[in-house]
Amino acid sequence: MVTKEEVLNIAKLSKLYLTSEELEDAFNEMKGIVKFVNQVNEMQNPDEEINHANELFNAFREDEIVPSFPREKILENVEGGKEGFFYLEKSQ
């Protein structure tokens, strides 16, 4: 059974703020959704071998040096990139 405290904790871990109204909605919805997905526990001993759509195989390749993206290109999508770096405010 989902509790309101759990939803609040999950939101914190998900880095999402919820207003008290949003928390109430999320709590009520989560109760329903968790009940819905709990159908997976009706099955007692499911197969434990295959768990991926594609047969798993290691995808090795030669370790070749290829050109990387130029710094200025990578910083095109941020405001306030400083001297070729992402700029973040110091945590308080």
Partner: protein, 489 residues
């Protein structure tokens, strides 16, 4: 009398070769139509890029150079496929104004042959939805009736193709996002085998389920595009080595002795009109020499809960990258880095996305991991085995694409689970990683299209496209009315 089902791509190709219309003229007409359109199918258009490519194609034609089939064909990409220098929003406020610095492999391939990218099409936010309505610009409309949704999540592509404002398009399919909107809009949509098409540059929703697929007016269009975009790519470690398809060469094969399996469980709780039309389609196949057999596939009852556990778990991890630091939306007032990230995500993501992140982190959190995530992974194995077993007896499976036809806009629901039920016919395919196609097979009493789904064995796209093409040639359901482009296509 079978009609001529020549696809849109071949018809436009011929027009260009015969110089009936120049590529630039054609592109301008498409762009004009997009601007006049009220389908809300596009998030952004890219006139400059489109006309630049069109000029290249015209130059090649006028100097007598050969052009390939996809060259100069005006098309569109779902807005979660990265296009260098062209805004790619995923239908989300959090990626508004984001311009990728590299191309997805599929767009790299298509750009090389001078495909005309008209613009980026509308979608449910981060591909999470079945109506296209969770998009930050509102949903795409259904060209058959503007009061109805186009379906989702690739609603924009399906709406644009059905509404004649793109010759074809690429969408992505995680739980039905190519097939369901194709079904709602009366067009053809293919979800390829997991690993057949490179996912490099597709902004991830659920990486073990996502696959890029083509949407077109006819099976032939979808087949041409699939043959071109499916190949090994060393930039995607789940891309399958050594694959090469020629599904086009197999379209005309007769269906004598084709073994079609009909899983009983797919026909429970299905809308009456949908069921009747699928049963008529089965009769058409029988008349073409195919053998029909009903059978049980009880494992699919777990498909929806398994899907929502796995897809949300993967989404919560994939979407952790949106933090306002490197790209996209960034909150403006904050005291420290944690507050900046939390505010950015809370303001940038829509309701459905937040809901799925919360569920994903819930099923992955300690104490619940074994009960939900691990259990779902094991059940996934069970579903894969059930499909393997079915394909040891049948060549293809035939089901409805969706239990219902397009629903009215802004329909209200009692709970999110009620909306999730719309995906019941499509999600098992993604869980099993097999290919499936949606093909129009009739209309309901409101004259809205109905789609049927043909499912195949892994890497047997040729077989499902063949079965779909033969049905299309035999019937008149494909939305194949003349293209109103001011030129005789």
């Amino acid at each position: 009398m079978p009609k001529d089902n020549k696809g849109v791509i071949r018809r436009i190709h011929k027009l260009l070769l015969n110089k009936d219309v120049s590529c630039q003229e054609l592109t301008k007409r498409y762009l004009e139509k997009i601007n006049e359109s009220n389908l809300n199918a596009y998030i952004n258009t890219c006139e400059e890029v489109a006309l630049e490519s069109a000029a290249k194609v015209d130059k090649k034609i006028s100097s007598g150079d050969e052009i390939s089939l996809l060259e100069g064909i005006p098309m569109t990409l779902k807005d979660n496929i990265s296009t260098s220098g062209i805004e790619t929003t995923c239908g989300s406020k959090i990626l508004k104004n984001y311009k990728p610095i590299y191309n997805a492999t599929v767009w790299n391939d298509l750009k090389k042959v001078n495909s005309i990218l008209l613009g980026k099409t509308n979608m449910d936010e981060f591909a999470m939805g079945s109506s296209c309505e969770t998009s930050f610009i509102g949903g795409a409309k259904n060209p058959h009736d503007l009061g109805y949704v186009a379906g989702g999540s690739s609603g924009g592509v399906a709406s644009a193709v059905a509404g004649n404002i793109a010759a074809y398009g690429l969408g992505s399919d995680t739980g039905g996002s190519v097939r369901q909107p194709s079904s709602f809009c009366g067009v053809v949509g293919l979800k390829p085998t997991y690993g057949a098409v490179s996912r490099y540059g597709l902004i991830a929703y659920a990486s073990s389920l996502d696959q890029i697929g083509s949407i077109g007016k006819t099976v032939e269009d979808v087949s041409i595009v699939f043959d071109f975009i499916s190949h090994y790519d060393d930039k995607d470690s789940t891309s399958h080595p050594g694959i090469k398809f020629d599904t086009q060469g197999n379209l005309k094969k007769d269906l004598k002795d084709l073994k079609i399996g009909v899983p009983n469980q797919y026909y429970e709780g299905i809308d009456k009109d949908v069921k009747e039309n699928i049963i008529s389609a089965l009769k058409v196949y029988e008349s073409m020499g195919a053998k029909i057999e009903y059978f049980d596939l009880p494992e699919i009852k777990y498909a929806l809960p398994v899907y929502y556990i796995l897809a949300c778990a993967e989404a919560s991890s994939n979407l952790a990258r949106f933090d306002g630091v490197r790209y996209g939306y960034k909150a403006s007032h904050y005291k420290n880095i944690n507050e900046m990230i939390c505010k950015t995500r809370s303001e940038g993501f829509g309701k459905e996305v937040k809901r799925r992140i919360l569920l994903g982190n819930y099923v992955l959190s300690s104490g619940y991991y074994d009960a939900y995530y691990k259990k779902a992974q094991n059940l996934r194995g069970l579903i894969i085995k059930a499909f393997d077993e079915a394909f040891s007896r049948f060549d293809v499976l035939l089901t409805p694409t969706s239990p219902v036809t397009a629903f009215p806009e802004n329909k209200s629901y009692n709970s999110p689970e009620e909306i999730y039920l719309a995906d019941i016919c499509t999600v098992p395919v993604n869980i099993a990683g097999v290919p499936a196609i949606s093909v129009p097979c009739g209309f309901d009493s409101n004259k809205l299209p109905i789609g049927m789904q043909i499912i195949g064995k892994k890497f047997h796209e040729s077989k499902i496209l063949n079965a779909a093409h033969q049905f299309e040639v035999f019937t008149n359901y494909s939305y194949n009315k003349d293209l109103d482009m001011g030129v005789n296509l």
